[in-house]
Amino acid sequence: MALTESAIGNSGKVARQYAPYVQADWGFANHWYPACFSDEVAVRGVVGVTIGGHDIAITREDDGTVRAISDRCLHRGVKLSAKPMCFANKTVTCWYHGYTYNAESGNLDTIVGSPDDKLINTVSVRTYPAEEVAGLIFVFVGDDDYGTPPPLDTDLPVKVTDNDDTPHFRDAKIVTRGLRRKLYGNWRLAAENGLDPSHLLVHWDNQIVVALDRAMPLGMKAMKDDATELLDVENGPKGVMNRYDLPENYQPVFENPIVDIKARGTTMFKPFRVSLWLPGILMVEDWPIPGVTQYEFYVPIDDHHHMYFEVIADHASTEDEKKEFEFKYKNFYEPLGLLNFNNNDVFAREATEEHYERFDGWNNEVLADADFSVVAWRKQAAKHGRGFFQSPYFDED
């Protein structure tokens, strides 16, 4: 019986191969991240989010244009979003002492109770590029001096197969619904969990699986070394993909006699495809049912929390089709997919965090053959991450 150097493994030598990924505790800087859903931000509304340590306020002009500025008032550092206040188009006013910022430039345009103050027009808060697509608001977050951001499409999953008609972000007919929640756990643990072919065990007793009598494998056995495909779209997004729909790549495992366990379900489903993209986006095509795509974003908040976006995407052109999608979302996708099923993933990440946070898990794991796709993702992320977020806080050492 060979023992590892410590009871919890010693993977430091492997981890060196993707060192930049191990360093990305706070996430990769200089990428586009979703901040919130479009319908969360009304005209002259303010929504506050934190991405990689950057506090950002999202607001909307009268003509619908979305803007993102720093969510910290220069004056005494309170969050503008703590009590949204927009008196005039394209401005955000701090609720505390009335410092009023231009939502496009970040300039201090006026101070409500002190309009002749000498500070006016001499200082500004940082602004962030913002764009809206398919019901989500994205912001480009990173180094102040990064220069022109690359197009949003370099950070959005694209269709890389041609054997079905699953929904993708830039489709003309795309409709989306979803939810987001702040979770405990590093963003990387969340991202890796979704891609990992051997994590399916956490789902074997989920309601959606039982209700659909669906044959949910206990795991997926890779049939070749390169079963995980590297995705490197020129001038486009980067990631890795597990094509569970290709029998030459993967074979499902339905039972393990050694522990007398069998997967439930008798209905053979169309197998889904899972891909994970920078800076931390999961795309599951043909899930929860064929013809539908589930997207998940793992947006770093700090080194131990992430915002978990769960989005269901479908195609709909007519009002009837859109209503049907809404009905299915409310009564099927959200309760059974995004909540009941994904709650098992949430449980898994939160349970993983402690070891990675307190026992330097990145250098102390014992990986098995089935982790090849996680390692492929780590290497791809190490190669293509554009920079690093770091802690902005002074009160922790």
Partner: protein, 352 residues
């Protein structure tokens, strides 16, 4: 542009001289200097803290090139510049007085002056590991309250605890790791820092530092890059690699790394790892004495440089002992690189 020979006075000896400094990013800083005032001092008085270290004319850090006017260094002093360098217009600004209005070229961008002003701070030893028989990797944890930032290639001065001695070491970690600094330190048979690291240093100990210092930094625009390192001269190169990796598009990078003998070789695994996640990086490792490692070539970093490695727009960064730097500067010159595209950081051996 003329360099005026001799000391003809076109300005009355008491009048201030007008000084212009031109940086590699095209920026110019202008100020007045009194006749008896060193350019460096006058610049500081005007609010421009230039790159410098010893301020007594021995280290060569503050060098600038006279491109117009007349300016002299005191005669009969030991200087870090050779006669040839002085006749080519090079001046140590800490020693130089202007005889009349003068302009100088500096070898670094003006942004270096504002980006990361040097600070004095204290940091704890968080890790000390021997990576070769003669090389220690020292990791320090910087408190978050310290406003410390640096550009890849710069160095810090570290005080040897219990002494008045300071030693300079390039930062090996990347720019984004502002709160965790790594240094690669060559351990000599005797020397105050070597003795301290060998016998006295322990995790948790607090060291006094000053930094960042130095103008050995990367060009802002990506160009084909050759990094040449002798021994612990690898340190700034690791930091530079970390920066270059995220430049879009990543330029081709060639790293030439030489050590004396197998027992002194370190970071082979670190470099192999970087090759795996930096697609445009090629590394050539070489040993002066390769007995026992005949898988590696015998020679110097320069001996594994091929003429075809140097492209017309290549920029070369060199760090190591002075003989390596001198030979490399000459060779890169022969291969057609202009002097300003050969950047060097020399090890200044300490007396003790």
């Amino acid at each position: 542009m003329t360099i005026v020979e001799g000391t003809e006075m076109t300005v009355p000896p008491t009048e201030p001289r007008h000084i212009a400094l031109r940086f590699t990013d095209g920026q110019v800083r202008e100020f007045d200097a009194d006749p008896e005032e060193a350019i460096l001092t006058a610049a500081k008085r005007a609010g421009h803290t230039l790159v410098s270290q010893c301020t007594v004319g021995t280290c060569g850090t503050c060098v600038g090139t006279l491109i117009d006017g007349a300016a002299e260094m005191p005669a009969g002093q030991l200087s870090a510049l050779s006669k040839d360098e002085v006749s080519a217009g090079q001046r140590l600004l800490c020693q130089t007085r202007a005889l009349r209005d003068s302009s100088f070229d500096l070898e670094y961008p003006s942004t270096l002056l504002e980006a990361h002003p040097p600070v004095a701070f204290r940091a704890k030893i968080s890790r000390l590991s021997w990576v070769a028989d003669t090389v220690v990797e020292l990791e320090l944890k910087v408190p978050k309250t310290i406003k410390f930032g640096f550009a890849a290639g710069q160095y810090c001065r570290i005080q040897v605890p219990g002494t008045e001695e300071w030693r300079s070491y390039s930062i090996a970690s990347g720019e984004h790791e502002r709160f965790r600094l790594t240094f690669l330190i060559r351990i000599l048979p005797s020397g105050v820092m070597s003795d301290f690291l060998r016998d006295g240093a322990r995790t948790g100990q607090v060291l006094d530092l000053e930094g960042p210092l130095g103008g050995f930094v990367l060009e802002p625009a990506p160009r084909p890059t050759i990094l040449m390192a002798g021994g612990t001269g690898l340190a700034p190169m690791l930091s530079m690699l970390d920066r270059l990796r995220t430049v879009q598009p990543t330029p081709p990078i060639l790293l030439l790394f030489g050590c004396n003998r197998p027992a002194e070789l370190f970071h082979e695994d670190e470099l192999a790892a970087r090759v795996s996640f930096i697609p445009t990086l090629e590394v050539r490792t070489v040993l002066m004495d390769n007995e026992g490692r005949d898988d590696l070539p015998a020679g110097t970093p320069l001996s594994v440089l091929h003429p075809g490695d140097v492209l017309p727009d290549t920029v070369a960064y060199l760090c190591g002992p002075p003989p390596m730097i001198r030979a490399a500067e000459e060779r890169f010159g022969e291969l057609g690189l202009p002097a300003h595209d050969i950047r060097a950081e020399q090890f200044v051996p300490s007396e003790n």
